[in-house]
């Protein structure tokens, strides 16, 4: 390794030297660190220039009376007269104003953020590289106002759900469009290495998005990967991280064995009383049958009735074992991340090449994500009039994905939660509690628990999962290639062809020896989903100006997009032996299937931008899309937008304000329409689905014809104000937006007895409107200390403008005109009846009088009342970066205020008496004749109405504050680095999800948008140590 980097080191040393009168040398720093790549030029002799090397050194031949110009992006340009000196060391100051002169990616080009008419959010590499996540979508939470990210799964490699300015669609997709290097991206987002990302631009309004037309109805997230710089020395950068992961939040607290047995006794006894037995008979029955109902006696076979007829644990008894399944199914997870990046450029070309390896193990056994990434971005000006570019990336990933997101017994998260402490992990001697030892191996024996009273009998994932396979292998290739010709000055034609290839292999295997496959002989299923997205476009741009005051940019283009997805797979049962994972080892063919879908989109678009005197800016865009999804005469939709901005700070009347600190003031507004067609691939035909039976072809009516179905339209209004003070040391923006969707692609409910549950229609309208605020500032900035603080907040409301029916139901939500898509309408919990301990709910009679019922099935939908919204009132994040000399501490928080979650996750722990099913701690507070003031009903094995039926009882607050990332970095001093020939080195400690503050114990408040929990893999806390080297 040493030799390697010395070799590279050697290659790096090249200096530009030209013969002139004197040689001026020196070093450029920012007051502390050396600055490489600073342009050093001369006022009198503009043809001569050089760059500082990696140490910040420069040397330049200059006339003794010339003046040196030091310029560097984001720093104030410095003029230093030479005055005959040969050694000139300088210190450049950060220019806060120029930080704002950011160039952002916009559709089919780039723009200056300061004058752009649209609403954009920007996340830079600095923020992204601090997140220790295997999926870049998870790094976005709390970074941009108006963007909400919900990581509903902590499984390494899984995507977060992202919504920009709420949900504009009901049944069509609400996912934003992801664009990588200017072209819509169809690969997997987990295949992009965070360290390859230069910036992420979030386009929130119509100005920006209309050019992507129908595909951008839900906003655009533009990922720009790193590029080399023209005329810059080669930079080699190596980053490594190593750390440990564990659950970020512990699970719901469960009853201990003693309490469980006493409570279950009570449930059995109560049920017996309900069946008209005397209390004595009931108590005797409960004591007699308790152990048999649960299936095992943790107090030993010598104590067949551990709970006496008074319902108390026999004195002196202690459980012989007390096993924690959550701990048993957790692993010591490691996090490893290594990246090597090489970039640079010559006079005509630039390059960026990187390779990376990530190993992100999950907190739960047999889960994890490994990824290998390669990227090569090359741009070259082959002729004065011809530029070509090629960005290629390839990713191979292996995700170990045990079942985790449904009600299946083998769901590894559900399993840990569902097994109470009295079911042992390893087989025990049932009298003494001692572990049984396998005479062959001398080790403990996994207890598969055929005696367990619940459906979890015959399973032990700790024993079987390591022998099973749940693997998702993914190969993603992405190519972006273009050439751009400039036949005459300022007229450019860019043609680009882009391919995204994503192939996913799922391989699941159940071993034939232990666990669920032991009796059935195990099984294997293997499947492949292959998708290819191809985008081909030609874009013509022309820039021209009059009098230096009027500037125009015109653009026109067309695009053809084709997306193909194809899958096939099969499964076999009865495997030959353990460890033979492939279908060839199975003996019974169970299934073979395959299908494919195709989507085509043809588009034409144009855009005109105008600016006057760098003060007034205007833009207009139009795009027409033809989609294969709709009936031939309804295929085409036309979308448009207008935008304008005014840099008020340039006006004469504000010059005075400049004196007292105002450094930026500009106003922006835009309005436009985008379309959405994302409602299944074949949204017009009446269809019969293939439903074969016993080797014969079969069909069943599946879809009603919808010949009039067409585009859904999103109308977006955005008004924004940007401001800055003290040279933009403090800056920010306030924006108001309104997203109005009309002709919503709606699934209109039909009468179920007609044989169809719903049909697609363009009906109804909704709007999302609200405010976004972001503030950013350097609170402290002096030689030693720097403190940068950023905060963003979003608040918005969702409103239903019109509906096809008076009211519509969507699960726990009711939609009414004037209401919101996110209003929970639930049966109102009326507490526990003090007299008998039964659960009660409110119902309404025909006159509207509220009454109480103990019979949940007496409740009707009309009895459900508005009970809060799943939308948070305010959400956002804040960042703090504090640095002192070589140290830097960066914190990234995300927060949510208000909003509700329906916590159905916990319901399975709150039953009233299901034998052997775990109970949460709050069941201790159940109703008893002595404890009548409670909201937990009386226990009984056969309750009249399940109290866990949907009601306001289980609605909880979704407010939280989460420390998403914390990074402490130490930049090693230059003089140390010199001795090891390194240019820059830093070590850092990073923490992910270090803490969460929220009300509900055990619940991870980061849940889906609609506020309903459903079997989620817990989010992970990762702490790692890292090293970053620059050669």
């Amino acid at each position: 390794m040493n030799q390697f980097y010395l070799l590279l080191w050697g290659l790096l040393f090249f200096n530009v030297a030209t013969a002139q009168s004197i040689l001026v040398e020196g070093k450029v720093t920012d007051g502390e660190l050396s600055l490489p790549g600073v342009t050093v030029s001369l006022t009198k002799n503009p043809n001569i220039a050089t760059l500082t090397d990696l140490d910040g050194h420069y040397s330049i031949q200059a006339d003794a009376d010339d003046t040196l110009i030091f310029s560097y992006i984001s720093y104030e340009t410095l003029y230093v007269p030479i005055q005959g000196k040969t050694l000139i060391n300088v210190e450049l100051k950060v220019n806060f104003e120029s930080l704002e002169e950011l160039i952002i990616s916009v559709p089919y080009g780039t723009a200056k953020k300061s004058t752009y008419t649209g609403s954009v959010g920007l996340v830079t590499a600095k923020t992204i590289e601090k997140a220790q996540v295997s999926n870049v979508t998870k790094a976005l939470q709390g970074t941009v106002a108006g963007l909400q990210s919900f990581s509903s799964s902590g499984q390494p490699g899984s995507d977060a759900t992202i919504r920009i300015r709420g949900i504009g669609s009901v049944n069509a997709s609400s996912n934003p469009l992801f664009v990588v290097d200017g072209v819509p991206y169809d690969g997997s987002l987990s295949s992009i290495a965070a360290s390859d990302i230069e910036s992420i631009t979030v386009l929130k309004d119509a100005t920006s998005a209309t050019l992507y037309g129908s595909r951008a109805a839900n906003g655009v997230i533009m990922i720009t990967t790193k590029q080399g710089k023209m005329d810059s020395p080669t930079t080699i950068e190596l980053t490594t991280k190593y750390g440990f992961s564990s659950r970020a939040r512990s699970d719901y607290k469960q009853l201990n064995t003693n309490d469980y047995f006493e409570l279950y006794w009570e449930a059995l006894r109560n049920n017996r009383i309900d069946n008209n037995f005397t209390p004595q008979q009931a108590a005797a029955y409960a004591s007699e049958n308790l152990v048999g109902m649960i299936g095992i006696n943790p107090y030993g076979l010598n104590n067949p009735q551990p709970i006496d007829q008074n319902g108390k644990l026999v004195t002196g008894l202690k459980p012989l074992w007390d096993d924690n399944w959550t701990d048993a199914l957790s692993q010591n997870a490691h996090f490893k991340d290594v990246n090597l990046r090489i970039s640079g450029g010559g006079p005509r070309s630039r390059y960026y090449i990187s390779a990376g390896f990530l190993d992100d193990q999950g907190a739960v056994i047999e889960s994890g994500f490994k990824r290998y990434t390669l990227r090569s971005n090359i741009t070259s000006d082959v002729k004065d009039w011809l530029q070509v570019g090629l960005n290629v990336s390839g990713t191979h990933s292996i995700q170990n994905y045990p079942k985790q997101d449904d009600a299946a017994i083998s769901n590894v998260i559900g399993f840990a939660r569902a097994l109470p402490s009295f079911y042992p992990v390893y087989e025990r001697d049932l009298t003494s509690g001692a572990y049984l030892i396998d005479p062959l191996t001398g080790g403990r024996i996994f207890d598969y628990g055929s005696y367990r009273a619940t459906s979890y009998a015959k399973y032990n994932l700790l024993g079987s999962l390591p022998k099973d396979l749940n693997e998702i292998k993914r190969d993603v290739g992405s190519v972006r290639t273009y050439f751009q010709i400039e036949p005459i000055a300022d007229l450019k034609l860019k043609t680009s062809l882009n391919l995204d290839y994503d192939s996913r292999f799922n391989h699941d295997y159940i071993n034939p020896t232990v666990g669920e496959g032991a009796l059935s002989g195990g099984g294997v299923s293997k499947s492949n989903v292959r998708t290819i997205g191809m985008t081909f476009n030609n874009v013509l741009t022309y820039a021209f100006q009059f009098d230096d005051l009027h500037r125009f940019n015109a653009m026109a283009g067309h695009e053809y997009y084709q997306y193909n997805t194809s899958q096939f797979g099969g499964s076999k049962d009865k495997m030959i032996t353990d460890g033979m994972y492939e279908p060839d080892a199975g003996s019974i063919l169970k299934d073979f299937y395959g299908n494919s879908d195709e989507y085509k989109l043809l588009s034409f678009f144009g855009n005109l931008e105008y600016s006057y005197n760098q003060k007034y800016f205007a833009s207009a865009s139009i795009r027409a899309d033809g989609s294969s999804r709709f009936e031939p005469s309804k295929k085409w939709g036309t979308f448009w937008s207008f935008g304008a901005s005014w840099r008020a700070i340039e006006e004469d009347f504000l010059q005075e304000a400049k004196d007292w600190g105002l450094s930026n003031l500009s106003l922006r507004a835009s309005y436009g329409a985008q379309g959405n067609d994302n409602i299944g691939y074949y949204a017009y035909q009446a269809l019969y689905a293939i439903q074969n039976n016993l080797g014969e072809s079969g069909l069943i009516a599946s879809r009603l014809a919808t010949p009039n179905l067409t585009w859904e339209t999103n109308l977006n209004l955005n008004i924004g104000l940007d401001f800055g003070f003290l040279n933009n040391r403090i800056n920010g923006s306030v924006e108001f937006f309104e997203r109005r969707s009309k002709d919503l692609l709606f699934e209109k409910a039909l009468v179920p007895s007609t044989g169809f549950s719903s049909t697609s229609q363009n009906i109804g309208a909704i709007k999302n409107y609200g405010w976004e605020l972001s503030l950013d500032g350097f609170l402290i900035s002096n030689e030693d200390w720097k403190w940068h603080l950023g905060i963003n907040a979003t608040t918005y409301k969702n409103k239903i403008v019109s509906l096809p029916n008076d009211e519509m139901w969507s699960g726990s939500k009711k939609w009414v005109k004037g209401g919101s898509l996110y209003d929970f309408y639930l049966i109102e919990w009326a507490g526990v009846n003090h007299l008998n301990g039964n659960a009660q709910w409110y119902i309404y009679d025909d006159l509207g009088n509220r009454q109480i019922t103990e019979d949940y099935s007496a409740t009707k939908d009309k009895d459900r009342v508005k009970s809060g919204s799943s939308l948070p009132d305010i959400s956002g994040g804040f960042q703090s970066e504090l640095s002192y000399k070589g140290f830097e501490l960066a914190l990234q928080f995300a927060y949510n205020l208000g909003g509700k979650i329906y916590n159905s996750d916990k319901l399975s722990l709150q039953h009233l008496g299901k034998a052997g099913q775990t109970w949460s701690e709050d069941m201790l507070n159940r109703w008893t004749p002595e404890n009548i003031q409670t909201d937990v009903p009386r226990l009984t094995t056969e309750p009249k109405s399940s109290w866990t039926n949907q009601s306001t009882r289980f609605l909880v607050d979704r407010s939280y504050l989460k420390l998403k990332t914390m990074t402490l970095t130490y930049n090693l001093p230059q003089n140390w680095l010199k001795s090891v020939h390194l240019n820059q080195a830093s070590i850092f400690v990073q923490g992910e999800n270090l803490f969460t503050i929220t009300k509900e114990q055990g619940l991870d408040p980061e849940q889906t948008f609609d506020g309903t929990t459903y079997y989620r893999y817990p989010s992970m806390k990762t702490i790692s140590l890292g090293l970053n080297l620059k050669l």
Partner: protein, 501 residues
């Protein structure tokens, strides 16, 4: 010049790449216009509807239409459910009354099947094919629709003679479009009439010589059997007698003891008139055996145990009685067990965890025939009953008549058709109450078994009998209780404005 070449190249490739049309077609569905072109195409809709009806599940507890059959037994007098997954809430009468999964699946399955049958009936006329094929397919569609209306009539209302005008469920006879309005609920008499009318049309249309290639397909025998059943439930004794007589002429085979003990899992059984076969790659319906099969180790829940008193209903010589015995859960070490259950080894998985689902047997037709004749005071009733009894090795009964004979036939239905989905329907149609009696846990049962080493062992275990003796509101079991009935789901009440008009 090069610039010109490149420009030309761009233009040329653009037209090449984008000249394709914007048409795409699905690969898992067929356009409706192509579905009824020929009779064999129309036949596919029947085949698909059947598959949908039998294999669609909304949870593992509701594996297809068979879940309705299983619910019927779980809610009767003779099955003792354990506390495991599946039907224990049916056993406690909270599942249907609480509008749970079985209740919602029933509605969807019935009406989706009816709509597809309607599509076949109204489109078959224009399909290309022979007249006899058209008749056969239309006849099967009518029969399938009649079968669904029979399910609705017998499960969504009390007995037809309690209130013939009680509201039951809507009737549709045309395929639905997006503009179809919800129909009002028809009376129980109307729904029974619809079922019988449909089945009688089917009987005329399906050629008598039709040879089905699988036992799930409806032929003349199945139609006659369904007509016998529907007429019995509708208390039309004459028709029930007529059709069951006709069917018994076609097939009066009663299976042997060996066949009876082979697990009720194979359609090849000569006594099965109608059944739904299962294969390795089509086995959703087989999941029902995880509830029904209480004596095989691969069964997950072994929940359909029997009331210990149920065994006393059988004579000692009855070979069915030998199949009922005390047993611990299969595959467990009895030394570690506390409980022993009364188990009926009637239903057993085949190898590969599959099992065909029985839908109609000749013994049911014997019992329908006997019951119809008993109601008509036809002395042959007793003869028919005894034919079945003697086939099972049971003592023949003599000198019974009137209600006593009818009661004996009803009891024989419980014994012979145990677990096949008739218990609750019989309770409803005969306006009876569920009867469950506590079984004392003392003395304990001395359970003998052979251990791994081949040694005979014995252990004293707590017997488990009925556990639920009252309705959820703690009222005693009674006849005509709303707890017995399926309920129209909320989604129908919400969207169908005409439902109660």
């Amino acid at each position: 010049m090069k610039k010109v070449y490149i420009l030309f190249l761009v233009l040329w490739s653009s037209t090449l790449l984008t000249s394709c049309d914007l048409e795409t077609n699905p690969t898992t569905s067929v356009e409706a216009s192509q579905v009824f072109a020929t009779t064999s195409d129309a036949d596919k809709v029947l085949i698909g509807s059947w598959s949908y009806l039998m294999e669609t599940f909304n949870s593992y507890a509701n594996p297809g239409f068979g879940a309705m059959l299983r619910a019927n037994d779980a809610m009767g007098s003779d099955v003792v459910l354990n506390t495991r997954y599946g039907f224990s809430s049916h056993y406690a009468f909270t599942a249907l009354y609480g509008k749970g999964g079985t209740n919602s699946l029933s509605w969807v399955l019935a009406y989706k099947t009816i709509n597809n049958a309607n599509a076949v009936i109204s489109n078959i006329g224009l399909a290309k094919g022979t007249e006899s094929e058209k008749n056969r397919i239309a006849g099967q569609a009518y029969a399938l629709r009649g079968f669904m209306y029979l399910h609705l009539a017998s499960s969504y209302s009390f007995a037809i003679d309690k209130d013939p005008n009680a509201l039951c469920a809507p009737i549709y006879t045309e395929p639905s479009t997006a503009n179809t309005l919800g129909k009002p609920a028809a009376t129980v008499s109307q729904v029974y009439n619809q079922a019988i009318d449909d089945l009688e049309i089917a009987l005329k249309l399906i050629p008598e010589n039709y040879q089905r290639n699988s036992k799930y397909k409806i032929d003349t025998s199945v139609t006659l059997g369904l007509l016998s059943r529907a007429s019995l439930y509708a208390r039309d004794w004459q028709r029930a007698k007529k059709y069951s007589d006709q069917l018994l002429i076609l097939n009066n085979y009663l299976m042997s003891e060996v066949e009876y003990k082979s697990g009720f899992n194979d359609v090849s059984n000569g006594e099965w008139i109608w059944g739904h076969p299962q294969t390795n790659n089509q086995n959703n319906a087989s999941y029902q055996f995880h509830f029904l099969d209480t004596t095989s180790e691969q069964s997950y829940y072994y929940s359909f145990n029997v009331d210990p008193y149920f065994r006393d209903l059988f004579n000692d010589g009855d070979y069915r009685k030998k199949m009922i015995y005390w047993a611990t859960d299969p595959g467990k070490d009895p030394q570690k067990e506390s409980f022993v259950w009364m188990r009926f080894s009637k239903f057993k998985f085949k190898a590969g965890d599959i099992a065909d689902i029985v839908l109609m047997r000749t013994s049911e037709i014997y019992l329908i025939n006997a019951e119809a004749k008993a109601q008509l005071q036809d002395p042959n009733a007793l003869v028919v009953l005894n034919e079945l009894k003697s086939a099972r090795g049971a003592q023949e009964v003599q000198g019974l008549s009137g209600q006593i004979l009818i009661n004996a036939i009803w009891e024989e239905r419980r014994k012979e058709l145990f677990g096949e989905g008739f218990a609750l329907i019989d309770i409803i149609r005969n306006q009876q109450a569920v009867v469950r009696k506590d079984f004392p846990q003392y003395p304990k049962i001395n359970y003998s078994y052979t251990d791994n080493q081949g040694q005979l062992q014995s252990v004293s275990l707590t017997p488990q009998g009925h556990r639920v003796f009252v309705f959820p509101d703690q009222s005693p079991f009674k006849a005509n209780s709303p707890y017995y009935l399926y309920r129209i789901p909320n989604s129908e009440e919400l969207t169908n404005d005409n439902l109660y008009n």
